[in-house]
């Protein structure tokens, strides 16, 4: 019986030792893969459902959102060593539109590697704007179809956020309109940098997804409180536009990532 006990212990030891192989061979990643970014629009922790009243925000205002679309651009990824891979600028403009269910950005041909950080911008930067109409005709038309343009000279609407609201003093549902964009030399383009809670890996065998939770309520509350009760149409307000841009850049949070979903 003693022999048996020894044998049993030996079996356990083997099992434990053989299970302890946490080998991490991500250094052998080769080729390219696709990183998709999902912009899952919400409102203060809840799902954003158009034309349904949301809970009261920090300014004691209740919003019913009827339109929420925006431009995201200039994507880049930073790897473990701190190297930044910048996605080709000409292909790096995307539209997210809650009405149309546009929520995914696909970044293909990302070099194999392990990435820790995602960067992108909200809106259209000055460089792109200065390129002129011919080069960006295609994206302009796409933006136009998604209610994200003014006239050509006025440029793009980076964010189109519309609906109705009520507050303590405004008890009847009243329209609000927030159109963020460039105002003359004031570009109002903001960059967003998000550290990934879990790294993503990319290679010939592996695609990855970054799932962002987007909190639309932050547009009026994140850094500076902007009260609709005070002013409900915010389109060409050179004082408030930069504040809205700054608030909006704070509305993105990484909810989770998926590794190896695809190929």
């Amino acid at each position: 019986m003693k022999n048996f006990k020894i044998a049993l212990m030996a079996i356990f030891s083997t099992i434990i030792i053989s299970c302890d192989n946490n080998d991490d061979d991500t250094s052998s990643l080769t080729g390219t893969g696709t990183v998709s970014v999902t912009f899952d629009n919400g409102y203060d922790g809840n799902d954003l459902i158009l034309d349904v009243e949301n809970s009261e925000n920090e300014n004691d205002e209740s919003l019913t959102v009827s339109r929420f679309s925006y431009i995201v651009s200039n994507f880049s990824l930073i790897d473990e060593e701190g190297n930044e891979y910048i996605f080709p600028k000409d292909d790096s403009y995307f539209i997210i539109n809650q009405e149309e269910g546009l929520e995914d950005v696909e970044l293909s041909d990302i070099p194999a590697g392990t990435y820790t950080t995602l960067k992108f911008g909200v809106g259209v930067d000055d460089e792109k704007y200065q390129e002129g109409g011919e080069i960006q005709e295609e994206f302009w038309e796409l933006a136009e179809a998604n209610n994200l343009t003014w006239s050509w000279t006025a440029g793009y609407k980076y964010i189109n956020y519309e609906g109705t609201f009520t507050s303590e003093t405004i008890t009847e549902a009243t329209d609000y309109t927030i159109h963020l964009g460039r105002l003359g030399d004031q570009v109002n383009y903001e960059e967003v940098t998000l550290n990934l809670d879990t790294n993503i890996t990319v290679s010939d065998e592996m695609d990855s997804n970054i799932h962002l939770e987007v909190d639309a309520s932050k547009i009026l509350t994140a850094v500076t409180s902007i009260e609709l009760t005070e002013k409900a149409t915010l389109m060409t307000d050179a004082e408030k536009a930069p504040l809205i841009a700054e608030n909006a850049s704070e509305m993105f949070v990484v909810d989770h990532v998926h590794n190896g979903s695809g190929h």
Partner: protein
């Protein structure tokens, strides 16, 4: 806990009516097997009890039903997906020698889930077969008259959970419950320990087990899992051949984080603490049991998965 002891303390006068020593007394208590191997994965009650109660040898069949719900989305108000996990398993404890027994479970799974838009998905098939060996370190004397002294038993063992249940990566996408699977897809190792004692016609049984999970061919690895339980029971002999045993217990499960391509998957670890009530009736060599379990506390998958309840029914033949 209180409930458990309440049961134990109840009805002392039964001592007077204890019949001739009944072999089954030491056989029937297969109820240490609280845990289900629904799919052996992640947080969906993938635990199994390898505990075999006293040194009983039996073969039997058991049906387990588990109801879960999981969030269809990332938001606080995202709608719920209803999930039903059903398992029919053949199980048994087969003695190899005086001190050694083999425990095996062969599960057949048929699960379904109902999405918020009322579409349904069904999966069914063989689950993960497990084979374990237990060594009786301390053994209750099987032929003893109901003893005046407490009788202790201690079993240690270990074994394998085989990847016989299919793992489908697609079931894992677009869902927050990674456990809607027939199996882990991986070869897993299990270590188990059962300890208990009986005194006259009541007893306590406890169980610990730990499952070490490995990476499956789809580069997914379920987190390791620790299970424990304690039960209190009392057997009432209604005749020479017929007895009834109410059982009350507590059980817990702790899940490690899952990994995909050696990278952690968010919201996959968690823990679960359950209360249990059960009743087993034995007639000659047959025992029929019903078990109901409900969560006392839980924190599964970042609270995006919730266990509603578990129920099971089993019929064993003891030998």
């Amino acid at each position: 806990m209180l409930l458990g002891f309440a049961v134990v303390k109840a009805n002392d006068k039964q001592f007077n009516t204890i019949p001739e020593p009944c072999e089954n007394h030491y056989h029937i208590l297969g109820f240490d097997d609280d845990f289900c191997d629904t799919c052996g994965c992640g947080s969906s009650g993938g635990s199994m009890g390898y505990g075999t109660g006293l040194n009983d040898n039996f073969i039997g069949i058991r049906y387990i039903h588990q109801q879960y719900r999981s969030r269809d989305g990332i938001f606080n108000d995202s709608p719920w997906i209803k999930e039903n996990f059903n398992t029919i398993q053949a199980w048994g404890n087969i003695p190899v020698s005086d001190r050694l027994l083999i425990n095996t479970i062969v599960p057949f799974q048929f699960h379904n889930r109902i999405f918020p838009d009322n579409t349904e998905q069904h999966i069914s098939g063989l689950g993960d077969v497990s084979i374990l060996a237990f060594y009786n370190v301390l053994k209750v004397k099987p032929d003893s008259i109901v003893s005046i002294k407490p009788e202790h038993y201690l079993q240690i063992g270990g074994g394998l959970k085989l990847p016989t249940g299919s793992y489908d990566q697609e079931n894992n996408e677009g869902s927050v419950n990674p456990s809607f699977q027939l199996g882990n897809g991986s070869l897993d190792y299990v270590l188990g320990l059962n300890y208990g004692f009986s005194y006259r016609n009541w007893g306590i049984s406890t169980m610990l087990n730990y499952a070490i999970k490995t990476e499956n061919p789809d580069n997914y690895q379920f987190g390791n899992q620790f299970n424990y339980s304690i039960n209190a029971y009392k057997t009432y002999y209604l005749s020479n051949s017929f007895s009834v045993t109410p059982i009350a217990g507590l059980a817990g499960e702790v899940y490690g984080e899952n990994q995909e391509y050696n990278l952690p998957v968010a919201d996959t670890k968690g823990d679960l603490f359950l209360g249990k009530l059960s009743l087993e009736a034995s007639l000659n060599n047959y025992s029929l049991g019903v078990v109901a379990m409900a969560p006392i506390s839980q924190n599964l998958n970042g609270n995006k998965v919730e266990l509603k309840n578990r129920t099971s029914i089993y019929l064993n033949i003891n030998f």
